[in-house]
């Protein structure tokens, strides 16, 4: 019986020759990632101290303060301080802060590698599936168990295979592939499952766009979002200094799927997820709303390709009067590259406000929260009620291109009008 990518990775992690969906395995964990929001300060530090427990392998632990950086108040500053000091006390050398959302940092710093099992205290840890890691979000107490034992029980997930053929047209982005898939599968349609993204429409994408798609697998309830290791993966890993070659892991031809879905990227138009659910998705041409804010940023939509596209749309235009466009690069490295290539200058010239790399506004913590009755189009991953601020505000999710186009007109706008 053939195996899916998930089954292969989990079989290896469990020390078994063969596993199948539904089976419960104890999987060895290759990396454990914690953030400031849900890391040491929630249960972990206190319980570990109380039990006198030790971390199984500090070299496999990565801690990234990103949600509360830069802190908006003393309470947030204390959480970051606590996280930093705990990492130091526990001898965790892979500690980062202020340089951007954890998922971008995990990938960019080479902590997420093909074939690894990775768990993180943030639900978008499934992002690492873009480089071929079986990665999933877990709670803080669950993380405590991983830190002590170095392993975790997992039910081997079934797999939904999503095949995207064809090439995206100008102005259509990975985010649109992501939203269109979520529309089809539904916000709970992949619960407990892996969503495996394959096909020419995926392999044509640069790594930074692929991450946007794997990132949102959890918005369908999925445990993981996986992509095959290919030449682009190898080239990307080389570019960040990972010299090792990895085995190409792909699903066997006779692997068993819970379903197989097919999409054509060449006919896809920009997609918008309307309030207050991520699967409430429409073609941009069918969505009408004024906006108060446009946001380009986060672990979903703040990478190099995203900012470059936003700048291309905005070139020669100005952000509409009464509207603000906020741009938060997904990492300091993305910031620096966009600065060097003139992208940040173009964005600023159009009236964009450039923020540091942070999770901030995506979940309404700081740096761009919205007020009662306000509407934001955002390249982030969730449009839940109150997500970016007031419980009486409205978030529309779209690509960075759609956010930039909407900033010019003050209405939700098809980015293809500006190409």
């Amino acid at each position: 019986m053939g195996m899916t990518m998930s089954e292969k990775i989990l079989a290896h992690a469990a020390g078994l020759a063969q596993v199948e969906a539904g089976q419960i395995v104890m999987a060895k964990v290759d990396k454990a990632m914690m953030d400031d929001l849900l890391g040491p300060r929630v249960e972990i530090a206190e319980q570990m101290e109380r039990m006198g427990a030790k971390i199984w392998d500090a070299n496999k632990v990565v801690i990234i303060s990103d949600h509360y950086t830069p802190p908006a108040n003393a309470a947030q500053a204390d959480i970051v301080k606590f996280t930093r000091e705990w990492a130091k006390e526990k001898g965790i050398e892979n500690y980062y802060e202020y340089i951007g959302p954890c998922h971008q940092i995990m990938i960019e710093k080479g902590h997420a590698l093909p074939g690894e099992v990775i768990v993180g205290t943030d639900s978008h840890s499934c992002s690492y599936g873009a480089v071929g890691s079986f990665a999933t979000g877990i709670g803080s107490t669950e993380m405590l168990g991983v830190l002590m034992m170095g392993e975790i029980w997992l039910k081997v997930p079934e797999t939904i295979r999503v095949e995207w053929s064809g090439k995206l047209n100008a102005g259509v982005m990975a985010k649109d592939i992501s939203l269109r898939t979520i529309k089809q599968i539904g916000h709970a349609g992949a619960t407990y499952q892996t969503v495996e993204y394959v096909g020419s429409g995926i392999s044509a994408l640069p790594m930074d766009e692929r991450i946007c798609i794997a990132n949102m697998a959890v918005e369908m309830g999925a445990k993981a979002g996986l992509m095959e290791y290919d030449e682009e993966t190898a080239a990307y890993l080389r570019s960040i200094g990972v010299e090792k070659e990895f085995t190409r892991i792909s699903s066997d031809p006779d692997a068993k799927y819970s379903s197989v879905l097919q999409f054509d990227a060449s006919t896809l138009v920009p997609q918008i997820a309307c309030p207050h659910e991520v699967d409430n998705v429409f073609d941009v041409t069918d969505v009408k709303s004024k906006i108060d804010q446009a946001y380009v940023g986060s672990c979903t939509g703040g990478r190099y390709t995203d900012l470059k596209m936003a700048a291309q749309i905005l070139k020669g235009h100005k952000v509409a009067s009464g509207v603000r466009l906020l741009v938060s690069p997904a990492s300091s490295a993305v910031y620096e590259r966009c600065l060097r290539e003139g992208i940040l200058g173009d964005l600023a010239a159009a009236g964009a406000i450039i923020l540091p790399a942070t999770c901030g506004a995506c979940l309404g913590l700081h740096s761009g929260t919205i007020g009662e009755g306000e509407v934001c189009i955002s390249s982030t991953n969730r449009n839940f009620i109150g997500r970016m601020g007031s419980k009486k505000s409205f978030v529309y999710l779209g690509s960075p291109a759609a956010a930039a186009a909407s900033a010019i007109t003050g209405q939700i706008t098809d980015p293809r009008e500006f190409l």
């Binding site: 249960e43 319980q47 840890s125 877990i138 709670g139 107490t141 979940l363 109150g386």
Partner: protein, 167 residues
């Protein structure tokens, strides 16, 4: 003792963890944040919930963020049992890990706020005393029942730590 009885707080589909535990309150202590549990859609829950009341929802409960503060604020208020048609994966695991019993029942649309229900979770039967109805609940899988009976993941880890402390 496998019978739980209590008054119902009832919610619908897709109650995500941003609703249960809004991010803006997460920088506060769990005790303080608990006052704002469910506040985006129900401002009374955080202040009027009484320990022993049963939290009932419909499909896809706990979707979204992995934040364990969602089950932690519920636990802080005294929630010991949740009944829903289905759960999002991480929230379900988090509830079990912090010691909240999560029961699956396909008929929660028939249960309303303030109904009094009685749950026999070993037999998988829910009786709605207010409406004189009976519903079937899913039995709890053995590997999860083991954790629930221990009281969550912490007691399991305490045992593990005792066994491994000298190694």
């Amino acid at each position: 003792m496998s019978i739980i009885e209590g008054k119902v707080w009832k919610y619908g589909d897709n109650i995500n963890t941003d609703i249960i535990s809004p991010a803006i309150y997460m920088e506060r202590s769990v005790a303080e944040a608990a006052k704002y549990t469910m506040s985006p859609i129900d401002e009374t829950f955080g202040t009027e919930y009484k320990p022993g009341d049963i939290f009932v929802a419909e499909r896809n409960l706990g979707s979204g963020s992995s934040r364990e503060t969602a089950p932690l604020v519920l636990k802080e208020l005294g929630v010991k049992t949740i009944v829903a048609k289905s759960y999002a994966r991480i929230f379900y695991r988090n509830c079990i890990n912090v010691g909240i019993l999560t029961i699956e029942c396909a008929e929660t649309d028939k249960i309303h706020k303030d109904d009094v229900i009685s749950i026999d979770y070993e037999k998988g039967i829910i009786i709605n005393k207010t409406r004189g109805e009976q519903y079937a609940a899913q039995p709890i899988p053995p590997h999860i029942a083991k954790l629930v009976n221990l009281g969550g993941l912490i007691p399991y880890l305490e045992n593990w730590q005792k066994e491994h402390a000298d190694k």
